[in-house]
């Protein structure tokens, strides 16, 4: 089966290594990156179906990464994952905001929903 690919970005290694198997369990192929720079490198090297990024990271934030990504790959859906209480101001390039406290099942459901919406949009525009 051809798995959809999710690129997971987070500066916290533990979080990243636990989020990866949860998403894999839901049937996705998961790539990881520890920073915005690393994420851009991965995106340049291979096809990715969804970007799931943390918000607060040293260097570029998740929303700054989303802006850079949408400049190059405007159709790539971006989910911002965050533990902060207030929604960042520069959300215009983010497709969905997911709180970290929603739990693994909710996260997987939202990833699936965004991917399915994106698929529909792609086939409609084709």
């Amino acid at each position: 089966m051809n798995h959809e690919v999710i690129l997971c970005v987070d500066d916290e290694e533990t979080s990243l290594h636990l989020r990866k198997p949860v998403l894999e369990k839901a049937g996705y192929e998961v790539m990881i990156a520890a920073s915005a720079m690393q994420a851009l490198e991965v995106l340049a090297s291979r096809k990715v179906d969804l970007l799931l990024t943390d918000y607060l990271m040293p260097g570029q934030t998740g929303t700054e990464l989303a802006r850079a990504v949408k400049d190059i790959w405007p159709k790539l859906p971006v989910i911002l994952l965050s533990g902060v209480s207030e929604l960042p101001k520069d959300m215009e390039h983010v497709d969905l905001f997911v709180s970290k406290v929603e739990g693994p099942q909710s996260m997987c459901e939202k990833v699936a929903a965004v991917l399915s919406a994106n698929r529909k949009q792609q086939s409609a525009s084709r």
Partner: protein, 492 residues
């Protein structure tokens, strides 16, 4: 009336020339001297204006003078009368009758110096009286309560400020004992205050006192012993109850703001590891190697983590699914929440009555609003474990205080009600009436969200003969009516 103004002196008599001569004698005093040829004329002046003194020129007819004095006395008890006699005062007994009206006598020959001196005394007296009157008016203008009590503690003076502050009218308290009228209840005994005033000359501090209605008010009080040796005590009091309440409210809001800031920091620091733990537990529970009891433990751990996540989600992560406010239909938010609660409502046998008067849309964030109504409806559901009725109504309304237009949503239940002792603290963080079931954050968070919309959230709990009715009313300003809805009721 200005205390330094000229005073009025009236000279009454039949012989104009005599009156004129007296007037010339008094000219040096630079007061207003008025001549009156008859008692009637003098009385007219007396009725129009205050007189410092009346000089009554007594002619041959003593009877006339007596009548004039009597008439003046009847109409103006306060005005002093000096009899100016034509003849030397020979028979004191003879003038006894006049004593009633006269304060002084001047006998012929009238010496200008003597006349001036005597009149000047009364002019000064009048000026002093005016000063006192002015002072009394000024004391009444003060918002402070000014009270003078004598050496025995009996009230001699009580200004308008004292009337306002303590509720007692001047005439009700004059002559009464200060401690009986406005007793000090806290923090020191009245006797102790008095002892300090007597020994140190003054006392200053904040006290609680009972007003006429028996309510305690907090008064900033200053008591001074008057230096005239009579032991009289002057006190000035100012109501600081409102000020203290405002300070307390400020402290409270600062405390809440600090909690809010702390919450923001904790949000990041707790939610990150919490997500990792939740993911790890999820993976552990789903791991094929995990069997029986271990799996049960993992599930328990997962449940407890979910509980923590619920707390942090209520408090620390007011996330919004859209970056800018969007048009939110109030009735669809309510229906979503009812949908989420459907199972609880069904299990608890709760009948839901919906009365959406108008379907209104407001600019906002659906998740936040959902959170508010989920809290209110969730609380109502939990208050009715034995079943009951849940009534949800919406209508277009105006804010009671600002009269801004908006939408009012009422969530009413027939549950266990709110006890009076809990009512004040209901919106405090971590205050809960459900120790096993609640985090004490739901209403606090809901209030915060509604206040962000510049709305209000209020409640009432009524005890009826067969139970309680509790209503929470949320008002959100700026609502737009989109279209009318049919009323409906359903049983969940």
């Amino acid at each position: 009336m200005n205390a330094s103004e000229k005073v009025n002196i009236v000279i009454v008599g039949k012989r104009v020339a005599k009156l004129a001569s007296y007037e010339i004698m008094l000219r040096e005093l630079r007061e207003n001297v008025i001549l009156a040829a008859s008692a009637e004329e003098a009385l007219q002046y007396l009725l129009q204006t205050d007189m410092a003194v009346v000089l009554l020129a007594v002619d041959n007819s003593e009877r006339d003078a007596f009548n004039t004095a009597n008439a003046i006395r009847q109409n103006s008890q306060e005005t002093p009368i000096i009899f100016v006699l034509d003849a030397p005062l020979t028979d004191l007994e003879h003038y006894k009758d006049y004593r009633r009206g006269a304060v002084d006598f001047i006998c012929a020959p009238v010496l200008p110096e003597l006349l001036r001196n005597k009149v000047a005394i009364f002019a000064d007296l009048q000026r002093k009286a005016r000063q006192l009157e002015t002072l009394r008016c000024e004391l009444d203008l003060l918002s402070e309560a000014v009270i003078v009590s004598d050496g025995e503690g009996r009230i001699e003076f009580w200004n308008a400020g004292a009337e306002t502050l303590y509720g007692w009218r001047r005439e009700e308290v004059l002559g009464k004992h200060l401690d009986d009228v406005v007793p000090i209840t806290f923090p020191v005994a009245s006797g102790e205050v008095l002892a300090t005033v007597i020994s140190a000359g003054q006392w200053e501090g904040a006290v609680r006192r009972l007003n006429k209605g028996g309510q305690e008010i907090t008064v900033a009080l200053r008591k001074i012993q008057r230096s005239d040796g009579g032991g009289a005590i002057l006190e000035m009091g100012q109501d600081i109850s409102a000020q203290l309440q405002a300070e307390e409210a400020l402290r409270q809001s600062e405390r809440l703001a600090a909690i809010g800031r702390l919450a923001g920091v904790i949000a990041h620091e707790i939610n990150n590891p919490l997500e990792a733990i939740a993911n790890a537990l999820f993976l552990v529970r789903c791991h094929p190697s995990l069997k029986g009891e271990a799996q049960r433990f993992a599930r328990m751990a997962e449940k407890e983590v979910a509980r923590i996540q619920h707390i942090t989600q209520q408090t620390l992560s007011f996330y919004r699914e859209s970056p800018a406010p969007i048009s939110v239909s109030i009735s669809s938010v309510l229906d979503d929440v009812l949908g989420l609660q459907a199972r609880h409502l069904e299990i608890n046998q709760i009948i839901v009555e919906k009365e959406y008067r108008d379907d209104m849309a407001i600019a906002g964030f659906p998740a936040e609003l959902k959170q508010v109504f989920l809290n209110l409806i969730g609380n109502a559901t939990q208050a009715m474990p034995q079943g009951g009725r849940l009534r949800i109504s919406t209508r277009e309304s105006r804010d009671y205080s600002s009269s801004r237009r908006g939408v009012r949503v009422a969530v009413c239940d027939t549950g266990s009600g709110i006890e009076a002792k809990d009512a004040k603290r209901l919106f405090e963080p971590f205050f809960t009436t459900k120790p096993n079931n609640g985090t004490g954050l739901g209403l606090w968070v809901s209030k915060g969200i509604i206040e962000k919309y510049q709305g209000t959230i209020r409640f009432r709990s009524l005890r009826l003969y067969d139970g309680h009715i509790t209503c929470f009313a949320v008002f959100i300003p700026g609502a737009v009516v989109s279209h009318s809805l049919a009323q409906g009721a359903f049983s969940a």
